[in-house]
């Protein structure tokens, strides 16, 4: 499957012209089973890409491979021209379905702050590094305001609702102004309105900073208007392209290896039926 190069958004002024992520012929084996193979994907600065597919199809695995957390069985993955490795400072990451337990009594602000300096050893000198401490505080405050979490950022994170926690985690991923945002179902615990709001927010930040976004989603409704391309994973294989190219009866049937039908409803939504996984509803407001 040829990736469609549709670099959108303002990805200029950062001196890099190559892709943010380049996956070439990659395969991952876990527990003696090949999760997916022959995966080719190029992600360009400013692109907003959704990773779709049924449960267990390897979406999280793809994110983890790009983060350098999993070894590849074949092929290669490079991030900003270097082989994928753990701890790449230019990647912001929100893992899948995490909730802080109610007894975690640390302020949301501190959790966001850890994204900025949590990897640093030693403690800042209280008076000598005043200036830097202030600029860090400002950066944290700015990103908290940009995700609309200012009202509850000073409460213990364990006491916040799932959606409030999710916004703070997105802020944590954004706070270093990464060139790649890897978000594993970040909209998962938000209501529909908030899903759209947060998706729009991520889209806006990606446009402003030229960051590329890889976003795993189950419900693609709220993000379809923001999407540039989709990566559809099923049956150990991957299809990459615009939603109009990939979410079709033909492509998905080939992917699943069994007949799948994509129905277009009169209100513009798309329904995928007949595949062995689950029902998925695509609201297609581009039609």
């Amino acid at each position: 499957m040829k990736p469609v190069n549709s670099a959108a958004g303002g990805a200029t002024g950062n001196g890099e012209t190559g892709p943010v992520v380049q996956v070439a012929g990659a395969a991952v084996r876990l527990g003696g089973r090949t999760i997916w193979e022959h995966v080719d994907l190029e992600v360009w600065p400013g692109e907003f890409i959704a990773i779709l597919g049924p449960n267990g199809s390897g979406k999280s695995t793809l994110i983890k491979a790009i983060l350098g957390l999993l070894p590849l069985q074949a092929g290669s993955i490079s991030v900003l021209g270097q082989p994928a490795r753990r701890g790449h400072p230019e990647i912001g990451y929100v893992p899948q379905r995490r909730h802080f337990e109610a007894d975690v009594r640390v302020r949301g602000r501190d959790v966001v702050r850890l994204g900025l300096d949590g990897v640093r050893w030693g403690l800042p000198l209280p008076f000598v590094q005043r200036g830097r401490a202030r600029s860090f505080e400002k950066q944290v405050q700015d990103v908290i305001e940009s995700v609309g979490a200012a009202a509850y950022a000073d409460r213990p994170i364990g006491e916040l609702s799932g959606g409030e926690q999710q916004r703070l985690l997105i802020a944590q991923a954004l706070v270093t102004h990464p060139r790649l945002l890897a978000l594993d179902e970040p909209l998962d615990s938000l209501d529909i309105q908030n899903q759209q709001a947060v998706a729009g927010l991520i889209r806006g930040i990606a446009r402003d900073t030229g960051a590329a976004v890889l976003l795993v989603a189950h419900d693609v409704n709220p993000i379809l208007s923001a999407l540039d391309r989709v990566v559809y994973m099923a049956g150990g294989r991957v299809a990459v392209g615009t939603p109009e190219e990939v979410v079709t009866s033909e492509t998905l049937s080939k992917l699943y290896g069994s007949p799948v039908e994509v129905l277009h409803a009169s209100d513009g939504s798309v329904v995928v039926v007949g595949h062995p996984g689950e029902e998925e509803v695509f609201h297609h407001d581009r039609h």
């Binding site: 701890g87 337990e101 009594r105 990897v119 403690l123 213990p156």
Partner: protein, 317 residues
Amino acid sequence: MTAIDCCADGAQCASGSCSILQCAQNCSAQIQSHFISPFGYHFMQNAFLAGTLVAIMAGVLGYFMVLRSQSFAGHSLANVGFAGATGASLFGAPPILGLFAAGVAAACGIHYLGLGTRQTRQNDIAVGAIFTAAIALGFLFIRLAPKEFTVNIYDVLFGNVLGISDANVLITAISAAVLLSLLVVSARPLLFASVDPDVAAARGVPVRALGLGFLILLALTVAVAVQVVGVLLIFSLLVTPAATARYLTPHPALAVGMAVLLAILFTWCGLAVGFYTPYPVGFFITSFAFGTYLLVRGAKLLMARSQRTRLANSVLA
């Protein structure tokens, strides 16, 4: 209780039923006033010094332990430490050494068997069985130990803060220095790894190595804290101050500071009251800790309730 029974030697006094003050008075030739300062006695100086150092260590490490939901691991280290302390007596080694060695072994066990994480709380029963076995082993060691090396079982179980030798004060001071300097270096990555291990790992924090390092530091803290409160009362310094501090503030640095202050306060109050009454110091430290915890939790509950009623009233109005 006759005057002869009461001697100024801290170790004997602590297990006797007379007050330390009484002991001190009876043994001191030049008592002029009715008020005796606890600081006038060497064993009390040692007690305050070691107690303060232990309180600082326990306060700081306790914060992280509670944050990581590893109080069970802390308890396990103390229980295994009991076998270590009594086992050391088989060879005439100092109990503190046995405590630390057994604690490190237990820390490695907990780490490599993956028992120290939030997700594996269901292993509690298996771990509990193992640690009961460790206590039984320690009990056996007490009987096996040669006469000249026997340890006082009460000292290991409940601590003997009034019988801390100069050498042990020095060991405690060195431990505190090592622990605090390591924590200053690793505080932020450790906080990151404790609050948010998945993201921390992806960002390059050595989460697993920090987890093991933390358990070893916990073993060190337990080993020195046992001198003050014993393996059974160790939570009064390790958990209660940190748990109370967490309810007072969600700010990590402030909470660590408060946990330390509370631990020091409980220790000092316990020592002071223990000095003037015939009852053991460990009891008072634990009671002050528990009382404060109850007070803070109760106050928080009341505040939450009054807030709810106010909210409900304002909605109705």
